[in-house]
Amino acid sequence: MIWDWDWTLEILPELLTQGLLVTLQATLGGAVLAFVLGLFVALLRRSRNPFVSRPVGAVMEFVRSTPLLVQLFVVYYVLPDFGVKMTALMTGIIGLGVHYASYTSEVYRAGIDGVPKGQWEAAIALNLPRRWTWISVVLPQAVRRSLPALGNYLIAIFKESPQLSIITVVDVVGFARELGSERFRYLEPMTIAGLFFLLVAIPASIFVRRLERRLGN
């Protein structure tokens, strides 16, 4: 028998409890950071001051054009030199969050651009203060439009979180690698890890597609 069922049953519970917890922490932490930071970036890029909007745009383009893995190394190896100490998981969450903020900021930007011009004009006609126009009129509509795309990035962050295993985070894949290296046999742990991601990602993306249709994007 090529597939070792005994071993499978032995490692399955550990993989899906210990590993899963870390994967979820990384995903949710990274996503919250990416969603919040992305919104700030989108607003900064909307700034009327070109000394704010241009550099922010350039930095985000740079982050989006370079690999997450190298960015993770920078946070993991370089920041401690400057006295910033944190756990590998925390490092990973920051890396994921900043990397995906460069994507979510584009999503928000498109969402803001998609708010009809009439909404702005109505707000001016009602003499709403500019700040209040943003908070009560534009952003709620923009975020609503952005929801399906943000859902897709949540799934993307979930799927990419295994990269954290390369900076020693023991998530589902990191755990599978440890188990595999103990026996020099990766078939069972890697297959289980892969199936686990499929099992979550496919229904999730079907759900997002539904959401998309419901919101009429």
């Binding site: 090529i2 597939w3 745009g57 383009e61 740079f62 989006r64 054009s65 370079t66 690999p67 997450l68 893995l69 190298v70 960015q71 190394f73 920078v74 190896y77 370089v78 030199d81 994507y103 584009e106 999503v107 930007r109 498109a110 969402g111 998609g114 439009r145 952005s146 399906p148 795309a149 897709n152 990035y153 799934i155 993307a156 799927k159 990419e160 295994p162 990269q163 295993s165 390369i166 894949v173 599978a176 690698r177 595999g180 046999r185 990766y186 078939l187 890697m190 297959t191 890890a193 892969g194 991601f197 499929l198 990602a201 496919i202 993306s205 997002v208 597609r209 998309e212 994007n217």
Partner: protein, 257 residues
């Protein structure tokens, strides 16, 4: 006298790092090129299969796309390199395994791009081709695909940059690419701040190179279908940046990776 950017005679850490980084850059470019060719071939094949008249052909395409988009390149890479040999008794060369994983993964996203672009060709074009009695093959080959091609390029540009970025994962299975060489340098005591900065810079330049190439191709293709052309207004406001991600294509393209 000019000094090559890969020369060991550059001062300090530069001279230490650049010869190795250049070696790695070549591998990175090769992997990107190999992965791109495979991904584009798969994208065309599976994208067209996804629109087939036969339900089972569409089914195969659907399963392929969901399967490879459901996990990340890293997991697929590990599986192809470490797990598959146990199952099949066949160990792939690491570079080949890497290119295979990249091509299979990005090809799945690319097929969505191909399908979307083909479906966005106006229905009237298909009908005119039927009225002129083209065979289904000729309809696709001479009427639909050439028109769909222009629409594929901007999302493909984004995908190829994703692919370039994903080549960094090959370092994990010890392919000696840029990232691998960078880590090696850091491990052997080079200034890590400088080495990582160089890495990011080189990746950024390569991304930009891809965008330049794709923009050139797009200009050519647009002129072929009588759109755009030199100095057409649309291009000016894009400056040097990639096309912004539109929510409409986000699920299929940028939700990628």
């Amino acid at each position: 006298m000019t000094i090559s950017p890969c020369s060991a005679e550059l001062p300090g850490t530069l001279g230490e790092a650049m010869p190795f980084l250049c070696e790695g850059a070549v591998i990175t470019l090769q992997s990107t090129l190999g992965g791109s060719l495979l991904a584009i071939a798969i994208a065309l094949l599976v994208g067209l299969m996804a629109m087939s008249g036969h339900a089972w052909v569409r089914g195969v395409a659907r399963v392929y796309m969901e399967f490879f988009r459901g996990t990340s390149v890293l997991v697929q890479l590990f599986w192809i390199f470490y797990a598959m040999p146990i199952l099949t008794g066949f160990q792939l060369d690491k570079s080949f395994a890497g290119i295979l994983a990249l091509g299979l993964n990005l090809g799945a996203y690319g097929s969505e791009v191909v399908r979307g672009a083909v479906q966005s060709v106006p229905q009237g074009q298909r009908e005119a081709a039927i009225a002129l009695n083209f065979s289904p093959y000729h309809r696709m080959r001479y009427v639909i695909l050439p028109q769909a091609f222009v629409g594929m390029i901007p999302p493909m540009n984004n995908l190829l940059i994703e692919l370039l970025k994903a080549t960094s994962l090959l370092s994990v299975i010890t392919v000696a690419d840029l990232t691998y060489q960078g880590r090696l340098l850091v491990n052997s005591g080079s200034d890590q701040l400088i080495v990582f900065a160089l890495l990011l810079l080189i990746y950024f330049l390569f991304s930009y190179l891809i965008t330049l190439i794709m923009r050139f191709v797009e200009g050519r293709a647009a002129r072929m279908v009588g759109r755009g052309g030199p100095g057409s207004g649309r291009r000016k406001d894009r400056r040097w940046s990639r096309r912004p991600v539109s929510p409409a294509e986000t699920p299929s393209v940028e939700g990628a990776r």
